[in-house]
């Protein structure tokens, strides 16, 4: 059980941070009580993890063979990377930290599944790009039907509020299904957990983060989306959920934050306004390279540190 603590911590931090990407706007705008949002999010995260979490686990465990010690090291290294980068206010993606840590160990083992890694990196790049394309398509489609409804102010309000809750629940489902691999995949690779126990433990640890520590993040990060009009916020949420779900089916854990940024960019293109700053886009680029590099270095450092032996001279 002790060996799983790094993974549980990672899941907790993922739940605390990423729940804001699915229910942040509704909570920050006081449309949904935090308690309701947290219960819905944790329920759907667990459901997503249990029903569709296996594919991502298969991909991550296939990047390199790991023994239990290496699995623990990569898991702790990813958790430490996420914590350090969060403290330093640097952009961070748990998926990229986990892959970086596994790569660090893979370098040591001199055994990297290059096609598998290529697929993962291609999906990272495809996340914001896909979020943008899907948000443009969804915006056009939903606007077509929405504008044809003869609705009064209250009905328009009801439609958007309910849709935000439904889309938030779907987003939570996609988050659980996609990101559970980040939490426990390395332990499946090391033979410590079965697939079922991995998705269950991973889902529960993400839930723990949502239920205990996501409120502040939801309220602060959620305001970013509230600045969009409610219809655009709904489009962003749906686009994020769909792109994350697509990558779940492909079997690659991706960053929900980067999916959101891509979707917000797409809404900006439709409306002809600048919704995303250049700096935010730069942060994604930094995230692609810096996060895995730091995680790999930390994983290697931890591994060397725990394998240091006192050898008396002479």
């Amino acid at each position: 059980m002790l060996s799983l603590l790094g993974g549980i911590f990672l899941g907790w931090s993922l739940g605390a941070n990423d729940a804001s990407n699915v229910f942040g706007s509704a909570v920050a705008a006081r449309m949904v009580k935090f308690r309701t949002a947290a219960i819905l999010a944790s329920g759907f995260v667990l459901l997503g993890a249990l029903l569709e979490g296996q594919a991502g686990i298969e991909t991550l465990k296939g990047l390199t063979p790991l023994n239990l010690e290496q699995a623990v090291v990569s898991s702790v290294a990813a958790a430490v990377t996420v914590t350090i980068m969060t403290i330093l206010s640097l952009p961070v993606s748990t998926s990229q930290a986990v892959v970086g840590a596994i790569l660090g160990i893979a370098l040591l083992n001199q055994n990297i599944n290059i096609p598998g890694l290529g697929k993962v990196v291609a999906c990272w790049i495809g996340t914001p790009v896909g979020g943008m394309i899907i948000s443009i398509i969804i915006y056009r489609m939903l606007a077509f039907f929405y504008n044809r409804l003869n609705k009064n102010l209250f009905q328009a309000d009801n439609i958007l509020r309910l849709s935000l809750i439904v889309a938030g629940s779907y987003g939570a489902y996609a988050l659980g299904a996609n990101n559970v691999a980040n939490v426990t995949a390395v332990f499946v690779g090391a033979g410590e957990l079965t697939l079922f126990s991995a998705v269950l433990l991973g889902g529960l640890s993400i839930d723990l983060g949502i239920l205990t520590f996501s409120r502040r993040v939801m309220e602060t990060v959620g305001r970013r989306l509230v600045r969009l009009d409610p219809f655009s916020a709904l489009v962003v949420l749906l686009a994020e959920a769909i792109i994350v779900h697509i990558y779940t089916i492909i079997g690659v854990p991706v960053s929900t934050s980067q999916a959101v940024i891509g979707a917000v960019l797409g809404v900006g293109i439709i409306k002809g306004i600048r919704t995303v700053e250049k700096r935010t886009l730069m942060n994604i680029l930094i995230g692609w390279f810096l996060t895995p590099a730091i995680a790999a270095v930390i994983a290697l450092s931890i591994y060397f540190a725990i394998n240091l032996r006192y050898v008396p001279m002479g």
């Binding site: 006081r30 009064n152 102010l153 009801n158």
Partner: protein, 216 residues
């Protein structure tokens, strides 16, 4: 389940209709007060009508506060809350104008000369028509989406007519032999009366924008 989910929203809706009723009642008492004034000058009945106008203006104010409290306790989307509050604040200026005009007549002991009485009646009739149309337009916003734009143009036309009547009255006042001080007093009263239709026009345009914002 849906009833429970939208309970606060339905309360807001009911309170908005209550607000509109008080606004209309306040307008009726204002109209009766002005008619009394035109027929018999400042008298007991006029004072009674002022009190009634104030009573319903005050009731409307209370309802507005209740709506504010309800909306900020998680009813409606933030954007809708802002739109409705802005609309109520704008509508609230109308009963205040009723009170202002009546108090001007009372405290400054204004006597409306006969040569402008019919014009004043006409100005107020058109302004009242605008008030009714504006209330209808606000109700339309909360009942269905269509029909708002056509009301905007009718209200706008009436507002232009009121401006024309207002200018005519002021010209007549300054062409008359009245005391210059009395001329200024009457001018101020007429300007405030004209402001009623100006305000309905502003509200009507605001309602149209709120409705257009619901299109994406």
């Amino acid at each position: 389940m849906a009833k429970l989910f939208f309970k606060k929203q339905r309360q807001v809706e009911a309170l908005i209709y209550e607000y509109l009723e008080y606004l209309e009642t306040s307008r009726k008492h204002f109209a009766e007060a002005i008619n009394t004034c035109l027929e018999t000058g400042v008298c007991d009945d006029f004072d009674f009508r002022i009190r009634l106008t104030h009573k319903f203006e005050s009731k409307a104010d209370d309802v507005r506060e209740k709506i504010k409290e309800l909306m900020y306790s998680k009813a409606l989307l933030p954007e809708s809350r802002g739109d409705i509050m802005g609309l109520l604040e704008a509508m609230d200026k109308i009963p205040r104008l009723f009170e202002l005009v009546l108090h001007m007549i009372k405290t400054q002991k204004l006597i409306i000369p006969d040569f402008i009485a019919s014009d004043i009646k006409e100005l107020l009739e058109v302004s009242f028509e605008n008030c009714e149309l504006m209330i209808k337009q606000v109700k339309t916003l909360f009942e269905r989406a269509n029909g708002i734009r056509s009301l905007v143009s009718t209200i706008d036309l009436n507002e232009s007519r009121c401006d024309h009547i207002e200018r005519g009255i002021i010209t007549k006042i300054f062409d008359s032999d009245l005391d210059p001080f009395q001329k200024l007093q009457l001018k101020e009263m007429v300007v405030n009366m004209g402001e009623i239709s100006d305000q309905t026009d502003r509200i009507s345009k605001r309602v149209n924008i709120i409705s257009m914002k619901r299109r994406v």
